[in-house]
C-alpha cells in the first residue's frame, strides 16, 4: 500500500515533467491564433480562450512555469531552512532560542494575505513570487531539521568526533549533512507541493507573472470571463485545475514516502 502510493506519486511527477520538457506547445500561448471562445477541435484540443489563444498551448506552457516555481522556491526555502535549522540545533542556547522564536513568528503569519500584499507592492513577476514563497516557507523545514540536529549532536560517535578535536566544519561535512540530507529531501518535496498550490492561488488572484503564464493564470482569465457560466468550463477550467491537483498530489505522495524513509519511527503507523 505504502510503496504503491509513492510509485503513483513518482509516475505523476514523471508524466508532468515529461509534459514540461518534451511536449511542444502547438501554438505560441501569447498569440491570437483563432476566433475567441471556440470549443475543442482537432486544431485546438482544448478550444480557445476569450481572445483566441490556444488553451492547450497555455496549459503546456503553464506546466513549465508552475513546476519551475515549485521546485526553485522549494529549493531556496530548504536551503534557508537547513542553514537556520543546523545553526539553531548546533549552537544551542540563546542562538537556538532566538531562531526558534523567529520560526514561531513566521509560522503564525497568515501567508496568503501577506503574499498578496507583497505581490501588490513589488509588482507581479516570477522572481517576486519565488522569493516571497521561499521567504515564508522555510520555517517548518528549519524546525524539523533542528530537532534532527539535536538528536545527532548527542549521538556517541558525533560526540566522540567532537571530543577528539573535530572542527565544526568537519562535523558538519562528515556527520551532520549526510544525516539530514534524506530529511531535507523529504521536506523539499513537501514544500514544492505547497509552493505550487500557493503560486496557482496568487496567479488566480491576478498577481502572477503576466509574461510567464501558469496554470493559475489560465484559471484567472477563465474566472474573469465567467467560463463557468457556460459549457466552456469543461475544457477551460477542468484541465489546468486537474494538473494543479495532480502535481500537488504527486509531490505530496513522494514527500510522504521520503519522510517515512528518513524517520524510521514513523514506519509502524
Amino acid at each position: 500500500m505504502k510503496s504503491v502510493l509513492s510509485i503513483i506519486g513518482l509516475v505523476i511527477l514523471g508524466a508532468l515533467g515529461g509534459i514540461a520538457i518534451f511536449t511542444p506547445a502547438p501554438y505560441d500561448p501569447h498569440e491570437r491564433v483563432s476566433a475567441p471562445f471556440q470549443p475543442p477541435s482537432p486544431q485546438h484540443w482544448l478550444g480557445t480562450n476569450d481572445i483566441g489563444q490556444d488553451i492547450f498551448s497555455e496549459v503546456v506552457h503553464g506546466t513549465r512555469t508552475s513546476l519551475l516555481v515549485g521546485v526553485v522556491a522549494a529549493t531556496l526555502a530548504i536551503l534557508l531552512g537547513v542553514v537556520v535549522g543546523v545553526t539553531a540545533g548546533y549552537a544551542g542556547r540563546s542562538v537556538d532560542t532566538l531562531l526558534m522564536r523567529v520560526v514561531d513568528v513566521v509560522l503564525v503569519v497568515p501567508f496568503l494575505p501577506l503574499m498578496i500584499l507583497l505581490g501588490a507592492y513589488l509588482g507581479p513577476s516570477l522572481i517576486t513570487v519565488i522569493a516571497v514563497i521561499a521567504a515564508l516557507m522555510w520555517a517548518r523545514p528549519a524546525r524539523v531539521i533542528r530537532s534532527q540536529v539535536l538528536v545527532l549532536k548527542n549521538l556517541a560517535y558525533v560526540e566522540a568526533a567532537h571530543a577528539i578535536g573535530g572542527s565544526f566544519w568537519h562535523l558538519l561535512r562528515r556527520h551532520i549533512i549526510p544525516a539530514i540530507v534524506p530529511l531535507a529531501m523529504a521536506q523539499l518535496v513537501t514544500v514544492a507541493s505547497s509552493a505550487i498550490l500557493i503560486e496557482s492561488s496568487l496567479a488566480f488572484l491576478g498577481l502572477g507573472d503576466p509574461v510567464q503564464k501558469s496554470w493559475g493564470t489560465v484559471l484567472y482569465y477563465a474566472q474573469a470571463r465567467g467560463a463557468f457560466l457556460t459549457g466552456a468550463w469543461v475544457w477551460w477550467v477542468l484541465p489546468p485545475g486537474a494538473l494543479i491537483t495532480l502535481s500537488v498530489l504527486g509531490f505530496a505522495l513522494v514527500g510522504y514516502a521520503l519522510e517515512r524513509r528518513s524517520n524510521p519511527r514513523l514506519r509502524h503507523h
Partner: protein, 318 residues
C-alpha cells in the same frame, strides 16, 4: 503563556511595521500609496501640501510614531476608491468572513474528528482506505478550482444555489426568508472551504486514535465488557482529542488563506474578497487595513485555542 503572548505581540508589531515601511520604501513618491495614481496629475504645490498633511515630510521615526498613534486610535487611513475611512469598510465586511470561516472551521473540524476516529477504529479497512484517499485528494485541490466546479454544477447547471454574493440584492427579505437566503448563499462557499481543509483534522485524529487504541487502558475497558461504542466514545476519544486543538490552530491559517480565494470565486463580500478588490483597484490603504485585520483575527483565534488547550489538557501549564 507569556512567551506565546510575546511572540503574538511580535507578529502584530511586525505586520504593523511592514505596513508602515512598504509604501515608504518603494521607489517613487510614497504619496501615490496614500491618494492613488491621481498624484501624477497634481501640481507641485498640492503635492507638497498633501505630503505635509500625511506627515510624509517628517523624519522616518517621527512618521512611525505618528502611524502607531493613529492606529491606536483606530485610524487605518482613508480608502480613496471607496471614499470612506478604511476601518468603516473593514467592519462592514468582517461579519461575512467570520460567518464563512467560522462555519467552515466548525464543520471541517467536527467531520475530521468523527471520520478520523472511525477510520482509526477500523484501521486498514476499506472505509479507512477510502476516507484516507478521498481527503488526501481533496487536500491537493486548489480551493478556487473546486469552487468554480461547484458553481458550474450546482449553481449554473442545476440552479440549486445562487452564483455569487452573500444575499439577494434589492430583495429586502425579512425573517425566515432572509435567513434562508443567507444560508443558500453560504452553502457552496462553506462546502468548498470545508472540503479543502478537512484533511488536517482527519489525519491528526486518525493517527492520535491509532496511538490511543493501542494503550493498556483500552484493553482493560474492553475486557471489562464495555461496549465497542463505549470504548470508542467514552474512553478513546477523550485522549485522542488532545492534538486536535493543535490542528484547529493550523487549520485556521489555511482557512484564512483559503477564504481569501474562495470569497473571490463566489464574490462573497468578506475581508478576503476586499483584499482582492483593493489589489485590483490599487487601493493601498484598504489593502493594508485588510491585511492587518486578518492578521489580528488569526492571532486572536490562536490565543483562544491556546487557552482552550490548557483547559482540556491539565498537563499543559500556560
Amino acid at each position: 503563556m507569556t512567551v506565546k503572548l510575546a511572540s503574538y505581540a511580535l507578529v502584530l508589531l511586525l505586520a504593523i511595521t511592514l505596513n508602515f515601511l512598504l509604501p515608504r520604501l518603494m521607489p517613487g513618491t510614497p504619496l501615490r500609496f496614500f491618494v492613488g495614481d491621481d498624484v501624477a496629475l497634481l501640481s507641485q504645490e498640492s503635492i507638497q501640501e498633501l505630503m505635509a498633511q500625511h506627515g510624509l515630510d517628517k523624519p522616518l521615526w517621527e512618521q512611525y510614531l505618528r502611524y502607531l498613534w493613529q492606529l491606536a486610535q483606530g485610524d487605518l487611513g482613508y480608502s480613496y476608491q471607496e471614499r470612506q475611512p478604511v476601518l468603516t469598510v473593514l467592519l462592514e465586511r468582517l461579519p461575512w468572513t467570520l460567518l464563512l470561516t467560522g462555519t467552515a472551521l466548525l464543520l471541517s473540524t467536527t467531520i475530521g474528528i468523527v471520520v478520523g476516529a472511525l477510520a482509526a477504529w477500523r484501521y486498514g479497512s476499506a472505509f479507512d482506505a477510502l476516507a484516507l484517499s478521498l481527503f488526501v485528494l481533496l487536500d491537493s485541490m486548489p480551493s478556487f478550482w473546486l469552487g468554480m466546479i461547484l458553481i458550474a454544477l450546482f449553481a449554473v447547471q442545476l440552479g440549486w444555489f445562487p452564483i455569487f454574493g452573500a444575499q439577494t440584492p434589492w430583495a429586502s427579505l425579512t425573517g425566515w426568508e432572509y435567513l434562508l437566503d443567507i444560508l443558500k448563499h453560504l452553502a457552496l462557499p462553506v462546502l468548498t472551504l470545508t472540503l479543502t481543509t478537512i484533511s488536517g483534522a482527519f489525519l491528526v485524529m486518525r493517527s492520535a486514535m491509532l496511538g490511543v487504541l493501542g494503550e493498556d487502558y483500552i484493553r482493560t475497558a474492553r475486557s471489562k465488557g464495555v461496549s465497542e461504542f463505549g470504548v470508542l466514545y467514552r474512553h478513546a476519544l477523550r485522549n485522542g482529542l488532545l492534538p486536535v486543538t493543535t490542528v484547529f490552530m493550523i487549520n485556521l491559517g489555511f482557512l484564512v488563506s483559503g477564504a481569501t480565494v474562495v470569497e473571490t470565486v463566489f464574490s462573497y463580500p468578506g475581508l478576503g474578497r476586499l483584499l482582492y478588490e483593493a489589489v485590483l483597484q490599487r487601493d493601498y490603504p484598504l489593502m493594508q487595513g485588510a491585511f492587518l485585520l486578518i492578521t489580528l483575527s488569526v492571532l486572536a483565534a490562536n490565543l483562544v485555542a491556546d487557552l482552550l488547550y490548557s483547559r482540556i489538557d491539565p498537563r499543559v501549564r500556560v
